[in-house]
Symmetry: C2
Subunit: 149 residues, 2 copies
């Protein structure tokens, strides 16, 4: 006898739906900053690494085709939130490095983003939430010892 469960308990379904909801709410929350979830994520990845992050790696971290990042970075660069600097060690690479203005905006955006998360997950036990982060991190970054903080 099969343990038949409804689609509404399917992890893929739940993940996708929850992701959609959070992304949409985040897009609204970031609209006043003229950021979308996408551009905020890219900016944030740049802010995480003061020395800059290869554009290609931003694409990989976002699960996007590298060609999709061109427009996103173009816009951030035009707004002077990031700069494309040639990697001195490998001039094929463009290192995306956040400007001071970029870091400032990112901090504001991070607060708004956190408010959205709070709205959806504020009522659950923080330890359980950390555990969920842990599980998702394992799924998203397999074979990695990276500690999320």
């Amino acid at each position: 006898m099969e343990n038949q469960r409804s689609i509404e308990s399917d992890l893929g379904y739940l993940l996708t739906r929850a992701g959609m909801l959070v992304v949409r709410a985040t897009n609204e929350a970031l609209a006043p900053l003229e950021l979308r979830t996408r551009s905020y994520t890219a900016l944030s990845l740049a802010c995480d690494r003061p020395d800059g992050v290869p554009q290609r790696q931003v694409a990989a971290d976002m699960g996007l085709d590298p060609s999709q990042l061109v427009a996103i970075i173009d816009e951030l660069e035009q707004r002077k939130l990031v700069a494309r600097t040639p990697d001195p060690n490998d001039r094929r690479n463009k290192l995306i490095v956040a400007t001071a203005a970029g870091r400032d905006l990112c901090a504001v955006a991070a607060r708004r983003s956190a408010e959205v998360t709070e709205r959806y997950f504020g009522s659950v036990d923080p330890a359980a939430l950390d555990q969920m982060r842990e599980m998702l991190g394992q799924a998203v970054f397999p074979d990695t010892d990276r500690i999320l903080r």
Copy 2:
């Protein structure tokens, strides 16, 4: 001092990335059945309710614009996996009801889908997984006492 965390511990980011990964892997797993994650989800929602589910509710449950469902249901209907039956109580509604063939295919697809989930989350404690389902369910179906099974 702010508790500054990297984007990689942001729940929205993790949810989105994990969802993408699972959806893509599920699409591949379902390709031999000529189903995509989208059509499988719609079919599954129909299978969950023997008396049929209003097309509009399928759209709502999937977070899609109703117009996007037309093509999805069209295809399932052409393949005789579901039928659009007029709701006797409100003839504006189309009730999507799964056929026997639809239920059979859905069962096969569910197994393949579960294998994908197993691949990404098989190594984590089942209780923690249930807890994650619970948390995501709360976020996706707020103000609902629905018990996921």
